[in-house]
């Protein structure tokens, strides 16, 4: 009987291409598809009116473990991810110790396997200790059990142009990608918010758009010169979009990411001085928000990455200048993207699947994720009620972080169920059970 526990028929789901189908989930894969599927030992999930998406893949998550377990753990962060509709997350390297050795990335990887809520794919640091001085052992991390393919000093820019060039070149030997946090450090000394009309009035140190754009311009030229893959994290300005568009038109292997918060929120919120709106890169202007949405719709920006950054409350219950930068995002990402991109008519669900699953999985070289929902593919499936609406209450979230800038907003799109490698991690909108470690080892 236990063998049959993970047999499910998803009845009448709408696929991203708007066709309707039943899906049989068995032995970790989509075993059958079509209408009128029956299986005596299967549990049936009524998916009438629900959209079936390939499980969401986040290229940009801070799980904080090891080192800041008071902020988040792999367990709580991956629970949060599952509830948000994710089946894979990339855990950023800025933990303590930094994920700059095979040992640390293997630790994070095995914590992810034990948790069993999503694929936890560690990101390796580009430089030792994120110090920007010498390359970390990228090859060792790539060859480790964690099979790292994405490398980033996220939180800090790889500012030295020679180091950046070498990193871009070096990761070609194992098909890796450098994910750059584009921020010129000298142009952003003491920066607190977007530099412009609002910072002028608030007297907060400015983070000018040019500090992001100048690094992206340099990096796309470097990527072109050495013919390497570059991924630009959390693009936040209209000018950055123009540079990436220019680079793509010239065949540069650049991909770009936008966060849900940069698709919805603007610097006007900083007028409250409430540090829940403090984030890096900062919230920008409404013109930037419009440009980012258009870029995501037309493919200039390839993916949505959450930059989920939980912080303990004391790091936000303070003066703006003292507060930590970052916002939670895993449990709101799907809804914010639906709100900003689908409900505005800029995208359909097929595009949604592309930017939240297919392309991020391809950039991270995660073979079992971001696959089409067809027979024989791994059963990483997220069922969403697109007509459901919910109010954001941070205290009810699975993440330890209470720093959601969407607090109190009513958003569309409720995650009803998530299958992770054929195992239901979310059912009826609530956490179900973790995938057993033994199953993951298969």
């Amino acid at each position: 009987m236990t063998r049959e526990e993970n047999v499910y028929i998803i009845r009448g789901a709408t696929l991203p291409d708007t066709s309707t189908t039943d899906l049989l989930v068995k032995d970790g894969i989509i075993a059958d598809a079509g209408t009128g599927i029956s299986n005596a030992s299967a549990q049936v999930i009524d998916a009438e009116g629900l959209i079936a998406l390939p499980g969401l893949v986040d290229l940009h998550t801070h799980l904080r473990e090891p080192g800041r377990e008071d902020a988040e753990t792999v367990e709580t962060g991956s629970r949060s991810a599952a509830l948000g509709g994710f089946t894979a997350v990339h855990a950023m390297a800025n933990s303590t110790p930094v994920a700059d050795t095979a040992g640390v990335v293997e630790q994070v990887h095995s914590l992810g396997l034990e948790a069993g809520w999503v694929d936890v794919r560690p990101v390796g640091a580009v430089t030792v200790g994120l110090a920007g001085e010498r390359l970390a052992e990228l090859g060792a991390m790539a060859s480790s059990r964690a099979r790292v393919r994405v490398f980033s000093d996220d939180g800090i820019c790889v500012h030295d142009p020679v180091l950046m060039r070498r990193a871009l070149e070096y990761v070609k030997s194992f098909d890796g990608v450098i994910a750059q946090h584009a921020q010129d450090p000298r142009l952003t000394v003491g920066s607190q918010m977007n530099e412009g009309d609002v910072s002028a009035v608030l007297g907060l140190g400015g983070w000018p758009a040019v500090a992001e754009e100048s690094i992206i311009a340099r990096d796309v030229l470097l990527a072109k010169h050495v013919d390497s893959r570059l991924h630009v994290c959390h693009v936040s300005t209209a000018g950055s979009v123009e540079i990436i568009r220019w680079a793509k038109a010239r065949g540069v292997k650049v991909t770009a990411e936008v966060t849900p918060h940069h698709l919805l929120l603007t610097e006007e919120l900083v007028r409250s001085y409430d540090p829940v709106y403090k984030v890096n890169p900062p919230l920008r202007t409404s013109e930037d928000v419009t440009a980012l949405r258009e870029a995501l719709a037309d493919g200039t920006i390839d993916v949505v990455g959450t930059d989920h950054a939980p912080h303990p409350s004391e790091h936000k219950e303070c003066e703006w200048a003292q507060a930590a930068m970052g916002m939670t995002g895993l449990e709101t990402a799907l809804s914010v993207v639906q709100h900003t991109m689908i409900e505005t008519g800029m995208m359909g669900w097929k595009d949604f699947a592309r930017v939240t699953s297919t392309t991020p999985a391809a950039i991270g070289r995660v073979e079992t994720q971001g696959r089409p929902l067809t027979v024989g593919e791994p059963a990483n499936i997220t069922l969403v009620d697109p007509d459901g609406r919910w109010s954001v209450v941070p205290a009810r979230m699975a993440t330890k972080g209470r720093n959601s800038p969407f607090k109190g907003m009513e958003l569309p799109g409720k995650v009803q169920a998530v299958f992770f490698g054929g195992h239901p991690t979310v059912l009826n909108g609530e956490l179900a059970t973790r995938r057993p470690t033994a199953q993951a080892a298969k």
């Binding site: 412009g196 002028a200 608030l202 007297g203 409250s272 001085y273 303070c318 703006w320 200048a321």
Partner: protein, 332 residues
Amino acid sequence: MRHLLSTRDLSPQEAVQLLDTAEEMAAVSTREVKKLPVLRGRTVVNLFFEDSTRTRISFEAAAKRLSADVINFAAKGSSVSKGESLKDTAQTLEAMGADAVVLRHWASGAPDRLASSGWIDAPVINAGDGTHEHPTQALLDAFTMRRHWSRVAGRESIGSDLAGMRVVIVGDVLHSRVVRSNLWLLTALGATVTLVAPPTLLPVGVSQWPCEISYDLDAVLASEPDAVMMLRVQRERMEAAFFPSANEYSRRWGFTDARLARLDAAVGSDAIIMHPGPMNRGLEISSAAADSPRSTVLAQVQNGVAVRMAVLYHLLSGDRSSNPVEQQEVGQ
């Protein structure tokens, strides 16, 4: 008015009313007994996260002249430097009975944060926050200008505003909380403002402000303004490449002896020279200018006490419409 965080929150009517109350308070300060009983039994906390002896003693004098008890809490060398948060410090002081918190902080927006966070119920008075605002400084500047402007016009100061007055503010606009508070308040009172600074010391976004911008101090002075306010320039700005040298700054944007002489030579100029202090003599203002009859530097300090009395009175007294001086006399 529940808090005083920014002069942007003041309507022209509220601003005039505050200045009028300050005139009443100034009259008290000239008496033999410089004290009113209106805040007897109330406690005002001066919570200073940044050193500023002048502002602190001005608030202290203001509170004491209204018979309030004053607690001074300097966050340096206290539990705050050992990691206690603004939230815990403010809640601790309120638990000890603070009825109002006068907050000076190096971080822009700290008073807004304290006022809107729900951490405490007491009114918050911004005594200067980072590079954001310094509303009581602007009120005392406006008070000083209004006295000058009404004297020039030959009318009573009380009830009047600054309509038609042309004010020039010169110096480090980028880092100045004084200039922000002054700009919102002076324009609300009807004055026109011109900011003069090197382009490096003007914030990106300044073009949206309700004022003229100039890089040329001599051209602006030639237009015969009614008041010229020199802002303090910190020498360390030089290291951050905001300007090449103190000498060059002084030549181009300082109120030098030569500029004073030109102003004095202009026929019929009543322009006053203002400075929020402390002055860098020889950098942004020459000694001759600072000590000239046009200088209102000491009057500004004196008016600061009256203005802060008015602010404390409006925020803390239950009956905000009545005249504090009459109230006292009825009570006696």
